[in-house]
Amino acid sequence: MPFEDELTDALRSTADGFQPDLTSLVNAGVRDGRRRSRRRTLGVVGGVAALALVGIGGAAASGVLTGGQTTRSAAPVARTVTRPPAPVAKPTVAAPVLPKFTAAQTLAAFEGMLPKGDTVTQAQSQGFTLTKSHGLAFISGPMASLVLADGIGGSAMFITVTRPAGKLDDPSLLDYVACPGHAVRPDITCTRTRLADGSVLAVMQGLESPHSSTEKDWTAWLATKDGGLIELDETNSAQEKGGVSRPEPILTKAQLASIASDPLWRTLAAKLPAPRVR
């Protein structure tokens, strides 16, 4: 056999021995994407909030994925060897229960927290949503986006409810509520507060990017003691890449803090399953 063919066989055999934990990989990838896009306004994948990922059913457990891939069970099931061997039922894992909070409820709740008298346009929302893919189930938390306008101009904003961790003391969660240093982002003014229930609130007011001159992006992040994360983000433009419509975003720092820390969002975040930790 030519050396090249032997090499191909050896690479294949070696590579196939590496068994990924798909759940962790996809969660980490989504988290990485969110971190990368966190200063981009409105947007990316519609502000996707899919961080909770749990294995369901037997598909992942039996290692059936497209492309001849295999995976470790997303939810290992302990088995006892019995003698004589009896037919073993296919391990089943209960499908996750989708918490109930609809798109309409999410939007109504968000609008109810906004200043009275301003006008809302371009509203979109989502409740708890279940997506199944390749034997894994993803539960996305509630989110809403809209443009709020007063007599001066419109301000695009969104709120998302996710659960990146199982507890507050998790680096992947604390990263969101860490104030960027002045050396890194001199344009950002950041206040970090610990609330009575132990949650950590960070409000960041800065430019959309360090290279912006007039585009501003203000965000309130609330990390809850259960590992939940609320993000409320607003800009001083009425649409993505649409130019500045007002000197500053419409909600004040106090309003950002108040809405992001509303107990409703914390309750909803706690309903999301915590990601698996390995």
Binding site: T14, L25, A50, T70
Partner: protein, 168 residues
């Protein structure tokens, strides 16, 4: 909210992550922690640009390009911190011949990062010389040169070891 885009991204990520991870393990010479970091970066970058990526002809090819470039970029940043050759990888590998794994991964680790990328793309991903050249931003001549240099090196390091472990 564009739920369809979200579904598409998650479907793509779950379908491709396994292959990306295995490619990353070979590129990383068996360093599974580095491989996880590389896949995470790849999925994260794909997420950020998903709208454009999903509209392209081949999102999987895009992700693999990102992965290989992330690996080369990592190696440039960490060039003073190369692991010693002959290092035995850790990780959760199972179900393959341990002697073959150790032998092959140690041999790969002796190659330069770029030569290793050429080998992995040509002989694991089964990419053509032209595709490999485009992905690594090299001329086809340079890919051929690097490929034969890498093969010669692997032959020297592995000796007859490869055929012994592949066909004991």
């Amino acid at each position: 909210v564009k739920q369809v885009q979200e579904d598409d991204y998650l479907e793509f990520a779950t379908a491709r992550s396994g292959h990306l991870y295995r490619t990353a393990c070979l590129l990383a010479g068996g360093d599974t922690h580095l491989a996880e970091d590389l896949v995470q970066e790849t999925l994260g970058r794909t997420y950020v640009h998903w709208r454009k990526v999903s509209a392209a002809d081949n999102p999987a090819a895009y992700a693999h390009t990102v992965l290989v470039r992330a690996f080369l970029s990592h190696r440039r940043r960490r060039s003073s911190d190369e692991r010693p050759t002959g290092w035995v990888p850790d990780g959760s590998a199972t179900e393959s011949d341990p002697a073959l794994r150790v032998t092959l991964l140690a041999a790969l680790a002796e190659l330069s990062a770029r030569d290793r990328a050429v080998v992995v793309l040509r002989y694991w991903e089964d990419r053509s010389v032209e595709e490999t050249a485009a992905l690594l931003r090299l001329s086809t001549g340079a890919v051929r040169t690097q490929s034969s240099r890498a093969l010669a090196r692997l032959r020297t390091v592995l000796g007859t070891g490869l055929s012994d472990v592949v066909h004991p």
